[in-house]
């Protein structure tokens, strides 16, 4: 087993999609794919799905509860003040703030979780196998944790070049 990945560069997404399709048919593991724009077929093929929305919902529910509790504590329990003949617990007024603060807290926490999960933060170095993935290069890396057998690598090379890869390199890990 060689600890190396196969890096293939394509210059359009159709070839990329076809190549991935063929690789998958041949049970060759695709480690990662880099594209200049989201190619939805690729995402679908690789079966990657984000759980971010679930987190957002949970955060939203939490924000509603926290905001309401805060409002109730400050306006009714801690320092009740009478405004314009309204009762201390003036629920209609609370609704607006709960709405706004829910959005605020939800989106901030979602962004933070996004950054933590993707590991994207300002100042992070970009780690790309091949430059140009943000321009017009579509890149596949074939490989797995344990490494790939030589014959699989050869097979992958064949598939990749057959599907229009413009450049194939091996990369030691």
């Amino acid at each position: 087993m060689k600890q190396k990945d196969l890096i293939a560069v394509f210059d359009n997404d159709r070839d990329l999609v076809k190549a991935i399709g063929t690789l998958k048919e041949n049970n060759i593991p695709v480690k990662d794919v880099w594209t200049p724009f989201p190619v939805h077929d690729v995402l679908k093929m690789l079966g990657r799905e984000s759980r971010l929305p679930y987190f957002s919902v949970a955060a939203g529910v939490g924000a509603v509860i926290v905001t309401f509790a805060f409002l109730y504590y400050t306006a009714v329990i801690d320092y009740p003040i009478r405004y314009g003949g309204k009762p201390y617990f003036a629920f209609p007024s609370f609704v607006v703030i709960i709405f706004l603060l829910t959005i605020l807290l939800t989106f901030i926490s979602t962004v933070i979780v996004f950054q933590v999960r993707t590991g994207l933060f300002p100042g992070k170095e970009a780690e790309v196998p091949v430059t140009g993935t943000t321009d017009d290069k579509f890149v596949i890396s074939v490989g797995s944790k344990e490494g790939l057998a030589d014959e699989i690598i050869t097979e992958a090379q064949v598939i990749l070049s057959a599907n229009g890869a413009v450049e194939i390199t091996e990369q030691e890990r």
Binding site: I81, R82, Y83, G84, G85, K86, P87, A90
Partner: protein, 985 residues
């Protein structure tokens, strides 16, 4: 709070001196007030600035040496005077008399500084009230235009030197055989009169002339002719069922307006059980607040008055009157009404014309009003000036017959019609000595100025009416090196006593009639000092008989001059300015005239019809006779063919506030028949094409059909107690609420304003300003509609524009229980207290102005600039001495925050603390906001509405009561009682 009537400061004189360290002419504030609790005077400004800056650049300044705070020093008294408790106010009874107005007053002294004037409720003439001018007089104590020391030709001299020179001057005047003339305003002080008499005896060729810029010569003269008694009788407006006024603004400016307003309101208050009220008809050419209050206002030209009076006289006498075109039917009706009210009617006339006053006397005599309504037994001491004597004096001066002239309390160069002539005459006078307390046009022409004290620094006495003596005591030591006039006179007489001793002796002998000074005298004297007044029995006796000879000679018929191209002009007085002697008082300058709503100016009132034909608009500058350029204000109610302008403006030497404000119209006035004539004919005003900025605080005059001021007639009210106020029930029936209305336990403050009693006199506005440290912002800012008064008098016109009905409505914060302003303040700076007050925490306010927008009554005021500190504004607050008038119990608001009426919360808290500490119920009577306290007509009722026995609760139950803009469901705590006019329908 219960007022404490303090004994005098008399014993203080010796001791207090030591509190005033140093030889400052103006006492160092720190020493003077023993500033243990100095709230808003001095330390506040630096401290607030400091906090603001820290807040503003918090990151940096917080770190600078841990944001070092300024060290505050507390300087206790070296010797604490027993009377002064730091942090607590004392009240001293005293007397106000400036030559024009009289008032028995209480002086509120806090930490040794007089800070407010209130009416003395023990005086029947004041009954606790004080007019706007009296309220404002406290500010003049701290006026920086006051003389601080004696002067010779404008440079400082010592008293010893001045005394010596004056005595020499008087001696040489006597030796030269020329006259020595003492020119004063009316003197009502018996002790001063006795000093003057001594002068008369001692100085050969001595002559005393009393001169009134607001002359009553014609009344005095007419009474001499008719009754052989040259006095002003007292008037009882409360005894009159029918009052007919002829150009007499007796609620605003005529004789004793505050007293008359109280009497008048007494007759105008309508009891619900038995609806009765007096009826008031006013004939006038220019619109006054008296005309506004009248049930019927009839426009006459000044020249028509004589004919109208003659018509009435003839009609009442049963002889055939000479017809006055356009008036006959009305006059017949009024004559019939007068006939019905014999013995309980009153005619008064403000025109300074002997014939007219004789006619008025004749009618009153015919109607039998002398006795019940007009009383010659109790005489009013005010306005005893003699126009003819003044005229003679000018002639004598011009002839060089006068060798010495002493001038006290008058400013004829400014306010006499022939002021210029008087000035020229002065040039020929040997020695001219002014006793003016502050600079004016006349003192500027004098050789010596021996400045008088402010009245709050002086001793004195007065007999305003025959049966009332009143004492005046100092509430503070003289701020400058000044000496009161009587002391100067005594000195020049060569008397050894000071005036205080003289006064005591005088009272002992002449007032109390005691042979010697002893315990009895001391007790009575102290009692008098505490009460401020000493009331003898009201004299009774027969009224003098009437002499008809002169009256018979007065020709009948109208005396309207024929011809075109001229206007009849009347020189009037404004409530704020009066004769102009208080012109350097910024409170008064900024007080909007209740009718025109103009501050900081006088104007030429032109009727709408004339304005249209001459194509004049408000703000146009016109040229009138005497090359006077004056701004026009189109005044609904001004009789067509007439114009009017107020005197007292256009001071040239008076101080920074007054100079350049308005135009002096007195040079237009004439002299006719032995009296100053305030009526003149002028040629048609000529447009100059220039515009003048008019500092109006109200520019829309119609109620637009909205039920703002509700009115009904007496007849309708008799049939239906909610007449005029029917919509209230409808509104109440339609009220739905999402939230239950809040119930207030214990205290719920509320106010009711009886629109029937309110005359629009604006005393409340100044009282509020004095109590609550309201800034003066100057003409430009008022012009920009930013006037700061917490209380304003709204004025609306209804009916036809030529002679409209005028409605006054005092509006201040309504303290709504469902206040729109409270809801919208994001930072909780304004919210509702447990006592039903719409409270405003200035410190918390960040100035979003949202509350201002959302207030339907627009009673909130914003500090657009730092009025209290910037030199740009003509405010007393940025004047070193002017600041001393500030009430330490009220925060001075800084720039950028909102303020408004607080129901005088500082008074409420003070009264509550006192009641709590004494463990008793807070009674309805002991607590009044400044406005209610001073209201001459007692139109403002204040109290605790949670207490079912309170007066305010009863007022709110009255069917006349309504709330402003009630349909908005703001639930105001201020109610208004529907106005009732006694109209004949």
């Amino acid at each position: 709070m219960k007022k404490k009537y303090w004994k005098s400061l008399e014993e203080l004189n010796g001791r207090q001196q030591q509190d005033y360290v140093g030889d400052h002419l103006y006492v160092n504030k720190n020493e003077m007030s023993g500033l243990i609790e100095e709230k808003s005077l001095n330390t506040s400004s630096s401290r607030r600035d400091f906090l603001k800056l820290c807040g503003f650049s918090i990151a940096t300044s917080a770190l600078i040496a841990g944001c070092e705070r300024p060290v505050q020093k507390a300087i206790p008294y070296l010797f604490k005077p027993e009377e002064i408790t730091p942090g607590k106010a004392n009240y001293y009874a005293s007397t106000f008399f400036d030559g024009d107005d009289y008032g028995s007053i209480l002086v509120k002294v806090r930490d040794g500084r007089p800070i407010k004037i209130e009416g003395n409720d023990l005086c029947p003439l004041s009954d606790g009230s004080a007019s706007a001018r009296i309220q404002a007089s406290v500010l003049e104590l701290y006026d920086s235009a006051r003389f601080r020391h004696p002067m010779e030709d404008g440079s400082q001299v010592s008293w010893e030197y001045a005394d010596k020179r004056v005595i020499d001057g008087l001696r040489s005047a006597a030796e030269s055989g020329g006259k020595t003339v003492l020119l004063t305003g009316t003197v009502i002080s018996p002790s001063t009169k006795s000093i003057i008499n001594k002068f008369l005896q001692k100085q050969p060729g001595f002559q005393w002339v009393q001169y009134d810029p607001l002359s009553f010569s014609a009344v005095l003269e007419a009474n001499r002719i008719c009754f052989n008694s040259r006095v002003v009788p007292s008037y009882r407006f409360d005894n009159a069922q029918l009052i007919v006024g002829f150009s007499a603004d007796f609620l605003g400016t005529w004789l004793m307006p505050a007293t008359f307003a109280g009497q008048y309101a007494g007759g105008r208050r309508v009891p619900a059980e038995d609806p009765q009220m007096s009826r008031h008809i006013q004939f006038e050419s220019s619109m006054s607040i008296t005309g506004a209050a009248a049930d019927e206002r009839i426009q006459v030209k000044p020249s028509q008055v004589k004919g109208v009076l003659r018509y009435l006289y003839d009609r009442l006498r049963g002889s055939m009157p000479v017809s006055i075109p356009g008036f006959d039917a009305t006059l017949d009706r009024i004559a019939a009404e007068l006939d019905e009210n014999r013995g309980r009617s009153l005619l008064v006339c403000g025109i300074n014309d002997i014939d007219i006053q004789v006619l008025v006397n004749g009618i009153n005599y015919l109607l039998g009003n002398y006795g019940p309504v007009i009383d010659f037994m109790s005489r009013i001491g005010l306005r005893s000036g003699d126009d003819a004597a003044m005229e003679r004096l000018i002639a004598e001066m011009k002839n060089g017959e006068v060798s010495a002239l002493l001038i006290h309390n008058v400013n004829p160069v400014f306010d006499h019609p022939d002021g210029e002539g008087f000035g020229q005459g002065m040039e020929r006078v040997g020695v001219k000595i002014s006793l003016a307390p502050s600079k004016d046009e006349t003192s500027a022409l004098c050789d010596f100025v021996c400045p008088d004290n402010h009245y709050l620094e002086s001793w004195g006495d007065a007999i305003p009416v025959t049966w009332q003596y009143s004492l005046q005591q100092p509430a503070i030591r003289p701020l400058g090196d000044t000496r009161q006039m009587q002391d100067s006179m005594l000195k020049w007489l060569g008397e050894e006593v000071d005036y205080y001793t003289y006064l005591r002796n005088y009272w002992q002998v002449s007032v109390f009639g005691l042979p010697e000074a002893g315990k009895e005298f001391d007790d009575r004297w102290n009692d008098c000092l505490q009460k401020g007044v000493f009331i003898t029995s009201i004299p009774e006796g027969p009224q003098p008989s009437f002499n008809e000879t002169h009256l018979a000679e007065i020709p009948s018929g109208s005396t309207v001059p024929a011809g075109e191209g001229f206007f009849e002009m009347e020189i009037t007085q404004s409530i704020a300015a009066g004769s102009g002697r208080h012109a350097n008082n910024p409170w008064l300058q900024e007080l909007p005239d209740p009718v025109s709503k103009l501050s900081w100016d006088n104007f030429l009132a032109v009727s709408p019809a004339d304005a249209e034909s001459l194509s004049l608009a408000t703000g146009d500058i016109v040229r009138i006779d005497g090359d006077i350029r004056i701004a026009v204000l189109v005044q609904p109610g001004q009789a067509p063919g007439t114009v009017s302008a107020a005197m007292g403006y256009g001071r040239t030497i008076a101080g920074k506030v007054a100079e350049g404000v308005g135009v002096n119209v007195m040079p237009l006035a004439g002299f006719a028949g032995g009296c100053t004539d305030y009526r003149v004919n002028i040629s048609t005003p000529e447009r100059t094409g220039e515009k003048h900025k008019m500092a109006l605080s109200q520019t829309h005059h119609s109620m637009e059909g909205r039920a703002i001021v509700r009115e009904t007639t007496l007849g309708e009210y008799r049939g239906n107690r909610s007449a005029g106020n029917e919509m209230r029930q409808k509104i109440l029936d339609h009220m739905y609420t999402l939230y239950e209305e809040v119930k207030f336990d214990g205290l719920h403050w509320a106010m009711a304003i009886d629109l029937n009693a309110c005359t629009g006199c604006s005393a409340c506005v100044i009282a509020c300003q004095a109590e609550n440290n309201i800034p003066v912002i100057g003409k430009e800012e008022v012009y920009r509609r930013r006037i700061m008064h917490w209380m304003r008098i709204d004025r609306y016109y209804s009916g036809e524009s030529d002679n409209p009905t005028v409605h006054f409505m005092p509006v201040m914060c309504q303290h709504c229980d469902n206040a729109p302003c409270e809801n919208v303040c994001p930072v909780s700076a304004t919210n509702h207290s447990d006592e039903g007050i719409n409270q405003m925490a200035y410190v918390r306010c960040i100035g979003t102005k949202y509350c201002i927008n959302n207030c339907p009554y627009k009673v909130r005021r914003f500090n657009w600039f730092g009025y209290a500190r910037s030199d740009k504004y003509n405010s007393y607050m940025n004047d070193e001495t002017g600041r001393m008038v500030l009430n330490p119990d009220v925060t001075v608001r800084e720039r950028g925050i909102v303020e408004k009426c607080s129901f005088c919360i500082q008074r409420i808290q003070e009264a509550k603390i006192e009641a709590k500490n004494e463990g008793r119920v807070l009674s309805d009577e002991e607590l009044l906001p400044a406005c209610a306290q001073t209201c001459p007509s007692k139109a403002i009722i204040f109290g605790n509405i949670a207490d079912k026995n309170s007066r305010i609760y009863k007022a709110f139950q009255d069917k006349r009561n309504y709330h402003l803009l009630e349909e908005l469901h703001t639930l105001p705590s201020v109610g208004y009682l529907t106005r009732i006019r006694n109209k004949q329908s």
